[in-house]
């Protein structure tokens, strides 16, 4: 949400190049950006508990803790249940870096109503990269890297072998999100944890406590919203109807919302080669795309990895404008078993960004 607002401002300012008058002066009212985010979030969560209740679900408020395999404490009451789905999510890691107390989490950062002057993001995963780009495009200097944070939010970081000292107004830590399993007393249910993660089989069931299932971030596998929807449904069905659906993440598109975004589905070239496959690679840059040129957004490319003999698509990676939407062309093709040649021969609308996906299928 914030990325889209920042991107809009960034696009608007670039509009000066396209002849938009007054575009260069477009700015962000960060207080209002955050207030709007908070309003939208509130409207989404507001009434959600009543909606669940209307559907006939008993909504219990409080912290849940196991007392016995089928018995839990919720607030000051005790409840018994045949089956359990653990969907407690994840929380930001606090890595043991010297001076960690001078840092904030992504959640704390996104509640600040003023833009910091200079920000350092620690952690180059999806969240660190997104924050880095969003805030950098919002007009800040950012840096993704670290060693130690000394007193006044000065970050000592090793960059290319030399130590740099980066002084910042805010240091945000985004080094992964371990599952929320503490305080649940999962040991009393017989659930085995693997490094703090609820370990589950392909039916999302705990092998050591077969009446317990887990879904979403707490399984520590695919920490994405669509995985949480999917696993929530599969876990509940398997719990109530018996194990009949194994989770399948073979075609699972994901995106890091940098600006422009980077999206992927399937294997990388290196992963495909490591499996000993005879790999072919196709590439098409957005520079060659008329729709991208017209928008002056020619950064990036589409890269296709396929099995050389059969033309089966093994993976597609897109960096560039609308990558988060374009990736679904590849995902649908992979799901439907379409080959490289099927896509290379497609008719498509000109001029569109989608054209580059099809162009990458030619060699």
């Amino acid at each position: 949400m914030l990325v889209s607002t920042v991107e809009l401002a960034w696009r608007a300012r670039r509009g000066a190049e396209l002849g938009l008058a007054g575009a260069a002066g477009v700015g962000l009212d960060w207080g209002e950006v955050i207030a709007r985010k908070n309003r939208i979030v509130a409207s989404w969560s507001q009434g959600k508990d009543q909606a669940l209740e209307r559907q006939g679900i008993a909504v219990l408020r409080g912290h849940a803790t196991f007392l016995a395999p089928h018995e839990l404490q919720v607030g000051d009451r005790t409840v018994t249940t045949e089956k359990i789905v653990i969907a407690t999510g994840s929380s930001p890691a606090r890595p043991s870096i010297e001076g960690i107390e001078h840092t904030v989490t992504s959640e704390e950062l996104l509640d600040r109503t003023a833009l910091p002057g200079r920000m350092v993001a620690i952690g180059g995963g999806a969240i660190g990269m997104e924050l880095g780009f969003a805030f950098a495009r919002a007009g800040l200097y950012t840096n993704v890297s670290v060693r130690r944070i000394t007193g006044d939010r000065t970050v000592e970081a090793d960059i290319g072998g030399t130590t740099h000292r980066l002084s910042a107004d805010v240091v945000v830590v985004a080094t992964g999100r371990p599952p929320n399993t503490e305080g649940l007393r999962l040991d009393l249910a017989g659930v085995r944890l693997e490094r703090g993660t609820v370990s589950v089989n392909e039916y999302l069931q705990s092998p050591t406590a077969p009446h317990v299932y887990a879904a979403g971030d707490v399984t520590g596998r695919h920490q994405h919203t669509p995985a949480a929807w999917y696993e929530g449904r599969v876990a509940a069905e398997n719990a109530l109807k018996g194990n009949h659906e194994a989770v399948d993440f073979n075609v699972f598109p994901t995106t890091i919302f940098t600006i422009p975004a980077v999206a992927q589905v399937g294997l990388t070239e290196a992963e495909a080669r490591k499996r000993g496959l005879r790999v072919g690679v196709g590439r098409s840059p957005f520079e060659d795309n008329t729709a991208a040129s017209v928008r002056e957004e020619t950064e990036g490319l589409v890269k296709v990895i396929y099995d050389e003999a059969s033309g089966q698509l093994l993976g597609v990676h897109i960096l560039g404008p609308n990558a988060e939407d374009l990736i679904h062309i590849a995902a649908v093709a992979m799901r439907g078993g379409l080959r490289r040649r099927d896509l290379a021969g497609m008719h498509y609308v000109f001029p569109t960004l989608a054209g580059t996906v099809f162009d990458a299928m030619w060699e």
Partner: protein, 44 residues
């Protein structure tokens, strides 16, 4: 037993699990210690 299925956490995964379970006719409860948005809505 009070319930057929008890879901812990009313974020994205928990809400979908509870709705699925009630759709299957199970006696279903969901526990939440915080707001009802979960992480996705609260932080994206």
């Amino acid at each position: 037993m009070d319930y057929d299925l008890l879901v812990i956490g009313a974020g994205t995964a928990g809400s979908f699990a509870a709705r699925t379970a009630i759709g299957l006719g199970g006696r279903t409860a969901i526990v939440e210690q915080d707001g009802f948005a979960g992480t996705c809505l609260a932080s994206g």
